[in-house]
């Protein structure tokens, strides 16, 4: 008896649909809150080849929703941990592990061999990058995103000229329009539900079983289980917002946090601070956020308060900012760079949750 018998006997599914899954290649971008549940169910369903791309490492605060990982895996790369887990469960799924962040320079080579892409990323730059490359390469894209207790789900780009993310939101929001990571809490079940919905859309699309959300977007609210499905249409500006070709795509700046020029690693930052006494290290988290940084003198300027230029900043030759994960500090670094031109202002990659953070 095969491990797929219970889905093969479903009326309308059958061996034919199972064979389609077996032949399919699906790439999951981000093995986080959305990616973990999507991966678990896609592998269980018998997708033949599953690619997992993620350059991030597992942090303790991920564990409420990234249910493939446990306490023992904190600090390990997510793509590697997910690949290891799935390989140990099933012999018949070809798992491709890509322990890197998706960038404009690696996206084409990583995406072009797959039949369908699942966006499980957690930031706008990656979402626009993924959308654009899927349109350019003609790859169907299962999109999901969450905000607090709400989720969005859609299937974009199933054929030439199809609706895609830029028909909904032609341009990415500006930095100042995005809530910072400190403000957005989440119950683990929400990305769980949305990630499983992404797996369901992928399975249905690949096998032609049921109806898929093409040309539509579904909003789901965890608090009352209300759904709201909208019909989408082409936005007059969406096509001109896309890169015209792959060369233009590769040279476009999607302002990926990992590519930002203002970022620096803990090791490099602490080395420079030690060498130059005119350096200041600033914690931009709220005063109640933990863990505390130990053993390194630092100031505290919470992100939510005034971002005034203080005398210490004027005197400093190097300013090094950190927060919980590196998002707020990057935003503040960019802001300070505009007013304090000529100074070296850095945001420390990964923040206090980085495995390289100097915690005792």
């Amino acid at each position: 008896m095969s491990r797929f018998v219970r889905q093969v006997i479903l009326p309308g599914f059958g061996n034919e649909a199972q064979q389609k899954l077996k032949k399919s290649k699906v790439l999951i971008i981000g093995a986080g809150g959305l990616g973990c549940p999507a991966l678990l169910y896609l592998a269980a369903a018998g997708i033949g080849t599953i690619g997992i791309i993620d350059g991030d490492t597992i942090a303790e605060s991920n564990l409420n929703r990234q249910v493939m990982y446990g306490e023992a895996e904190v600090g390990i790369n997510k793509a590697q941990a997910a690949a290891h887990h799935l390989k140990s469960k099933y012999h018949d799924v070809n798992i491709q592990c890509i322990p890197e962040f998706l960038t404009t320079s690696n996206a084409v080579s990583y995406i072009q061999t797959y039949d369908l892409v699942i966006d499980g990323s957690d930031n706008f730059p990656t979402r626009y990058l993924v959308n654009d490359i899927c349109v350019l390469l003609g790859k169907p894209l299962v999109f999901a995103a969450i905000y607090q207790n709400e989720g969005q789900l859609a299937l974009f780009n199933t054929k030439k000229g199809d609706i895609h993310y830029r028909d909904l939101f032609p341009e990415p929001p500006k930095d100042s329009e995005i809530p910072n990571c400190n403000e957005t809490g989440v119950l683990g079940v929400l990305p769980g539900i949305m990630g499983i919905m992404q797996a369901a859309e992928a399975i249905k699309f690949l096998t032609g079983y049921g109806e898929v959300l093409t040309g539509k977007i579904l909003y789901y609210n965890l608090l009352n289980h209300q759904t709201y499905t909208l019909a989408l249409e082409k936005h007059p500006a969406s096509e001109q917002m896309l890169p015209n070709n792959l060369t233009e795509f590769e040279s476009r700046d999607y302002a990926l946090f990992c590519d930002a020029k203002e970022v620096i690693s803990w090791k490099e930052a602490l080395g420079l601070i030690e060498k130059n006494s005119k350096s200041i290290l600033i914690d931009v988290r709220e005063l109640n956020e933990r863990p505390e940084l130990q053993g390194h003198a630092h100031m505290k300027i919470p992100f939510s308060g005034p971002h005034d230029i203080i005398p210490e900043m004027k005197e400093a030759e190097g300013i090094y900012l950190f927060c919980q994960s590196g998002i707020r500090s990057l935003r503040m670094a960019r802001e300070l760079s505009q007013t304090l031109s000529g100074k070296k202002i850095y945001s420390i990659i990964g923040g206090i949750e980085s495995p390289d953070a100097p915690l005792n």
Binding site: Y147, Q148, L230, A231
Partner: protein
């Protein structure tokens, strides 16, 4: 006195609902999406800095569009989390 005859129902999602302080809102005499944006920006100035799409009767619209009487108008912000 003339009765108000044009009513619409607003449904807001995500951060927009937070800024409105409610996920539903009934409004009178808002004939177009442009008038609606103007009204919202005036009442809730923070919305002016935020991106959101507008759907009329569960259909996404772009540009300035008339809003029929009794329409349900959804305000749709992008989400990025995952």
């Amino acid at each position: 006195m003339e009765m108000v005859t044009h009513r619409i129902k607003i449904r807001a999602f995500g951060m927009i609902a937070e800024k409105l302080g409610a996920d539903c809102l009934d409004l009178d005499s808002i004939p177009t999406t442009e008038v609606l944006r103007g009204y919202l920006y005036q009442q809730f100035p923070e919305l002016e800095k935020m991106k959101f799409g507008i759907a009329i009767n569960k259909k996404l619209v772009s540009g300035n569009q008339p809003i029929p009487n009794e329409a349900e108008v959804a305000l749709l912000p992008p989400f990025s989390g995952g």
